[in-house]
Structure formats: C-alpha cells, structure tokens
C-alpha cells in the first residue's frame, strides 16, 4: 500500500493529474469473448469452421514491445483485464479520460460480410465490457474498411453512443486513405463529430514496406511510421481536408519527430507541383497545423535535451501533440511517459487542452 501511494506521488510529479490519454489498447482476450456479440450466423460459422484467433502479426503477442513486462499478466493477454487497466493505465497517471483503440485483426479479413460482423462485435464488446464498466473510458469505432457501405453503416450505428469519439483506421489497407472512394466514411465522421485515428497495423494487402516484405518484426514496426507518413500525404493531396474542414486526423503511435522534415519536403513539392492538385489551396504545413494531431508515445526522441528543444521549435506549434501511454505496449519505463524538455505550459496543452480540441465529443461527455 505504501509503495502504491509513493508511486502515485511520483506520477503526479511527472504528469499533472486529469490528463486525457489518447491511445490505450484494451485487448479482446480471445474469440470466445466476441461470441455473445456476433449474430447467429457468424457465431455458428466461428464455431463450425473452427475460426482461428484474429490477432494480427503487427503485434506478436510475446514480443517485448507488445506489453511492458510489469503490465504483462502471468496468463492471458496484456490489456485484457479491466481491473489492471484501471490501476496501471488510469490511476498510475492520474488520467481522467482514456481513448480505447482495440487492435483485434478485423481489418485483415477478406470477406466484407465477415469483417462487418466482427467489427460490430468488437464495438459492442468495447461498449458493454469496458465503457459501461469504467466511466473514464472512451472508444474508437472499428470499421470494416473492406466495404465503404458497411463502414459508414457501422459509424452510423455506433455514433448514437457519445462515448465513441473516433473512427479507427490502420496505417496500411487496400488503397491509400485519401482516395475518394473512402470519402463517405469521412463525411460520416465529420457529421457526427468523430475524429479519424490512424494506428500502426496493416490489412496486409501489400508488403509492409514500399519495397517488399522485410525479414524481421523490427522492420515491420519501424515501417509503421513510414506507412503513416504516406497516408498523411494521401489525405492532404487528395483534398480530404478541403472537403471536410472540420475533420481532425490523429496519427497514433507512430512518433512525431519525423513531422517537421516530412512537411519541409511535402510543402516544397506542393509549391512545385500544386498544379496537379489545385484543390489543395494552402501549404501542407498549414493544413497539418489546423487538422492533424499526433500522440506522444512512442516519442522517438533525440538523445539530448538541446536537440529535443530545437526539434520542438521545428514543430512550429504547441497544439500538435496529444498525451498517450500506448498502454500496454512497452514504449517507456516507470512513469517516464513524457519526454524530457517540455515546458509546463506545453505539458498542460498536451495532457488536456489539445485532446479536448481534437475530439469534439470529449467536451460533450467530459465532466
């Protein structure tokens, strides 16, 4: 008990209480947990066909990155137990609100009917098993991107529940996320005040790099930030932010130190090639400042505080970063959830102001 108290005091020193954690991962413990949320047909199919677990190779269950050692239970998956999540992810950081991003591999299925059934099941499971039981939790809507119609229908179905604050996409799917065929999804998100979160992971329709399949998981994970950079290019160049000016895009769990250099290049090419995409009426740098946010873990931070300070200057805005622990993924140790070198003012923005400005629904549902 004493230990717990002193840890909390230490936490309070690291991050101010009341933070809004924009990326945590409650885990679907197993397929059986979804059975109550599947309709009769898909429950029968799951059992009759002996469906395997849908965990994606994006997070090998026993890989060190997938769960911090002290957050890994003796049995079962990290992040699958509500009591532990309350203690480890919420209480430990004094978190007031945390957004749940389930990573069960529904997006990998090839049948669009099956994908829709399992997306519904994951969303209902999240609402019943987590959001109903813990008032600090909010949810992201898992959508079956295999069918735009089904994805829109799932958004419409879940949107009535104001605890869903975001539509969740993976970093790599069938087509780049800016493509016009996907725009009904963004129209639905904007209409309902839902942000669009893009998270590492892939439907594995294409190699996880633009140059083929790698040999090691280390490469797969390193390439997730590369994939997210390309998705940002697509969203900007196709004109998503002109068509849906109120839509906020959140780049989850993919670092942020790459952003300045990325924007220098994209904005330069925009100046040289804007005749190809005339609907992009302002510099990508401005678009990102208005419409795109990034979660802070993993920080991918430079080795020195001086470098970090200069990098934050390159970022050019104090509104871009959102607090996240990425629980239960192992991105940091102890309570070191924020990189060193952030001013108290910036910490306050990252912990609370920026998330509230990013997720319109948080303001509606946050005390």
């Amino acid at each position: 008990m004493n230990v717990e108290v002193s840890q909390r005091q230490f936490s309070a020193a690291r991050v101010p209480p009341g933070g809004i954690d924009c990326d945590i991962h409650p885990a679907v413990p197993n397929l059986a947990a979804l059975l109550p949320y599947l309709d009769d047909h898909w429950r029968d199919m799951t059992l009759q066909r002996g469906l395997h677990e849908l965990d994606s190779i994006a997070y090998p269950l026993n890989a060190p990155l997938t769960a911090r050692p002290d957050w890994r239970p003796a049995k079962g998956k990290a992040g699958s137990d509500l009591a532990r999540l309350r203690t480890e992810a919420l209480d430990a950081f004094g978190t007031s609100i945390a957004i749940c991003n389930p990573l069960y591999g529904v997006q990998l299925l090839f049948s669009e009917d099956m994908a829709a059934a399992f997306a519904r099941a994951v969303n209902d499971w999240l609402a019943r098993e987590w959001l109903d039981k813990e008032p600090r939790l909010r949810g992201s809507i898992v959508v079956p991107l295999q069918s735009v119609d089904y994805a829109v229908a799932e958004i419409e179905r879940c949107a009535a529940d104001k605890r869903f604050v975001q539509v969740l996409m993976l970093a790599s799917g069938e087509v780049p996320l800016g493509r016009r065929m996907l725009w009904p999804i963004y129209a639905a998100a904007e209409r309902h005040g839902l942000s669009l979160g893009i998270h590492p992971g892939s439907g594995y329709r294409h190699p996880v790099t633009p140059v083929g399949w790698p040999s090691y998981y280390t490469e797969d994970y390193a390439n997730q930030a590369i994939a997210i950079q390309s998705q940002l290019t697509s969203l900007i160049c196709e004109g998503v932010f002109q068509k849906f000016p109120r839509l906020k895009v959140v780049l989850l769990e993919s670092g942020f130190t790459w952003l300045p250099g990325y924007l220098w290049r994209l904005s330069k090419y925009w100046r040289g090639l804007r005749m190809e995409i005339p609907w992009v009426d302002r510099s990508p740098t401005e678009i990102v400042r208005d419409c795109v946010r990034l979660t802070i873990q993993p920080a991918d931070a430079p080795p020195s505080a001086d470098q970090f300070a200069r990098l934050m200057d390159h970022m050019g805005s104090d509104e871009l970063l959102l607090f996240s622990t990425d629980y239960p993924h192992w991105q940091f140790d102890n309570d070191d959830v924020l990189p060193d070198g952030l001013s108290p003012q910036l910490v306050a923005k990252i912990m609370r102001d920026n998330p509230l400005d990013t997720y319109p629904r948080l303001k509606e549902t946050t005390p």
Binding site: P210, T257, G272, W330
Partner: protein, 370 residues
C-alpha cells in the same frame, strides 16, 4: 525547384560559385538508343529491344507510371539547342551547367539503363552497354565526369560479374542501384552485390525510383505524381531500415552507401526511432552489435537534392548538424525540373569549412577523388 526559365547564366563562374563544387547526381541520356547504345549491345538484344521494348514491372510501354510535372521531367531551359533530350549533349551540359557552376566532379547516374527490365539477361546486357556508353560518350571526353556501374541488381550473379569487370577502372566512381527494389535492400539476395562493391572499393549509390512492382505506399497505389515524388523519401527510409536491420553494414563494414535524391531531413528522426525500437527488440537481431544510428553515422551518405526548405530556413542547419556536416553530398539533379542551384540551394550563413565539405569535399572523399 526551377519551374520558370531563368535567364542564361554567364559561362564564367560567378563569385558565388567560384568555389569548385562536386555534383553527386547528373543524369546523362543517349541522343538515341540506336546510335549510342546499340554499338555496345549484342545484335540479339538489339532485336529483342526492337520487338519487345523495355518491359518492366509497370503498366505502360512508354513513359512513367505517373506523368511527370514537366516534359521529360526536365528544366525547360535544358533542351540542347542542337536538338535531342535534356542531358543528351555534353557540349551543352558543359555550357549550361558544368562550366558556370564550376563543377569539378560530376557523378553520372543514368536512369534509362536496363535496370528494372524483367528479362534478366536483357537487363544485364543493357546495363553493360550503358556502362560502355558512359565511358565512350562522357567520361573519356570530360575528366570531371565519373560514371556509375549500372547493374541488374535483381540478379546478383550478373551484377557481381559487371562490378568485377569495372573494378579498378577509374572511369567509374560507384555502383548504382535504384531504391524501389523487388525486395528490401537488406535482403540477402542482394548481399553479393555489396560484397563485390566493397571488394572493388566502390560506394553503392541508391537513387530514388525503380521498378520493384510494389505500390509506392504500403497501403496501395497513390493517385498523384506529387505523392510518388514525396514517397521516394518513404521508400528510401524503408530501404535503409532494411540495410541496417538485416545486417548489411555489420557484415560489410567497409561498404559505403550513398542515398541519392531522397532528401535527407528524415534521417535523424529515423535513426532515433530505429535506436529506440532496436533496444526494445534486439533479441530478434543478434547479428547487430551496435546501435542502428552508429552504422548509419559511419557508412551512409546522402545527396542533398531536393533540398528540404523549412521556414525559417535556418532549421535546416540543425538537421545537417544532427546528420553530420561530413555526410551530405551536394547534388543538382541536372537536367531535371527540381534541380537545386548551387548558388541558391543553401542560403544560410555557414563556415568556409562547412561550405567546402558540403559542396565538394564530402563527395571527393566518398568517391575517392582526393
């Protein structure tokens, strides 16, 4: 980027470029394949080319997958007055670029070389012909220019043979690969190429573009040329991740890699990310004995074009400092439209020592021209 036509510059070097420079990325083109390449290509492959053309892992017989922003992706003022495509006339290249910019060393990177052709025997024969052509039409006529050993890198056997053939020939300064390979660059199918390059003492240049057949994003095909152009920096990052993680630098410690036309501001954040991930997952790659950033710091160089343009521009000095002033090789990409002009490319206060490194000496050192 020069989209507008600038007034012709005097053939005399101006004060701003009185310093001799090296240019790490010049693109020579043949006036005509039939006139300039065929003399070095066996009749059998001439016939093949006439009948089937250059079939690559991309849909169109002619031209690129994404239409370029300018005809021939070229500066409008780079068309030789005597006719032919930009980059095809040595006399005009001298007058237009090499002399006024006082280029002391120019690295030739042919882009229509046979690389990426699906027929491996044809690709190897064509690459070999392009190597002979570079010597006959360019390096033997202008000692400032150095050729690249073009290899059909998807087939390491023919690549090694070609590298061995050119080893010791001072007309050649590097082995050239394209970035968009069929598998990531660190894959062991390519290791014999690195081994041969290391043995020959030649750096391996990896130029953006290529014909691996996979989409420019891991999430599918982008719609626009601008996405492809920006995406080369993502594809090059993926290639570098692979070179590091799959252990190429560990295995070939004297190998030098030069990433060409992929930009450079992405490098420090990528190195930070790799270090962090590797520390977490290093039990997967016990063949690596040092931090990813250490391999990169010692064995990787980058050409500068297209130079990132932050606002304010001085932010770029931080990035260059983090990469190392000794690691960047100035390049113009002549005659292409997004050419960087040595007079205007780095409008920042830097020391004379830094200027020398950046514009000349790093290239001289990497390419063994000291």
């Amino acid at each position: 980027m020069n989209v507008q036509v600038l007034p012709p510059r005097s053939a005399e070097p101006t004060n701003a470029v009185r310093l001799a420079i090296a240019d790490g990325d010049i693109h020579p083109y043949p006036k005509s394949v039939q006139k300039e390449i065929y003399p070095f290509l066996e009749k059998r492959w001439q016939d093949y080319y006439e009948t089937y053309g250059m079939l690559r892992r991309q849909g169109y017989q002619f031209g690129p997958a994404y239409p370029k922003g300018q005809p021939d992706a070229a500066r409008r003022d780079a068309y030789p007055p005597a006719g032919g495509k930009p980059g095809s006339d040595l006399a005009f290249m001298r007058e237009h670029h090499l002399d006024p910019n006082n280029v002391q060393l120019g690295i030739l990177n042919p882009l229509s070389s046979g690389q990426g052709a699906m027929n491996a025997d044809f690709a190897a024969a064509y690459c070999r012909a392009v190597n002979d052509w570079q010597v006959a039409e360019w390096t033997s006529k202008d000692a400032r220019l150095k050729a690249s050993v073009m290899v059909n890198y998807e087939d390491s056997v023919s690549s090694v043979a070609e590298i061995d053939r050119r080893a010791g020939d001072t007309n050649f300064a590097q082995v050239l690969l394209l970035s968009r390979t069929a598998e990531p660059l660190g894959n062991r199918r390519y290791w014999p190429i690195y081994e041969a390059a290391e043995r020959a003492g030649l750096p391996v240049g990896i130029h953006a573009f290529g014909y691996g057949g996979d989409p420019i994003t891991s999430g599918g095909w982008a719609s626009y040329y601008i996405e492809e152009m920006v995406g080369h920096s993502q594809a090059s990052q993926s290639g570098l991740i692979s070179l590091v993680v799959e252990g190429v630098f560990e295995r070939f410690p004297r190998l030098k890699v030069v990433l060409i036309e992929a930009g450079f501001a992405w490098l420090p954040p990528l190195a930070w990310r790799l270090d962090k991930i590797w520390k977490r997952l290093k039990d997967e790659t016990p063949h690596l004995r040092r931090l990813p950033s250490e391999y990169i710091r010692e064995q990787v160089w980058l050409t500068t074009q297209p130079m990132e343009e932050p606002r304010p521009r001085k932010h770029l000095l931080d990035t260059i400092e983090w990469i190392g002033w000794d690691r960047l090789i100035f390049a113009t990409d002549y005659p292409h439209w997004d050419y960087d002009d040595p007079v205007h490319a780095l409008p920042l206060p830097i020391s004379d020592a830094q200027r020398l490194q950046f514009f000349r000496d790093n290239a001289m050192a990497v390419y063994g021209q000291v």
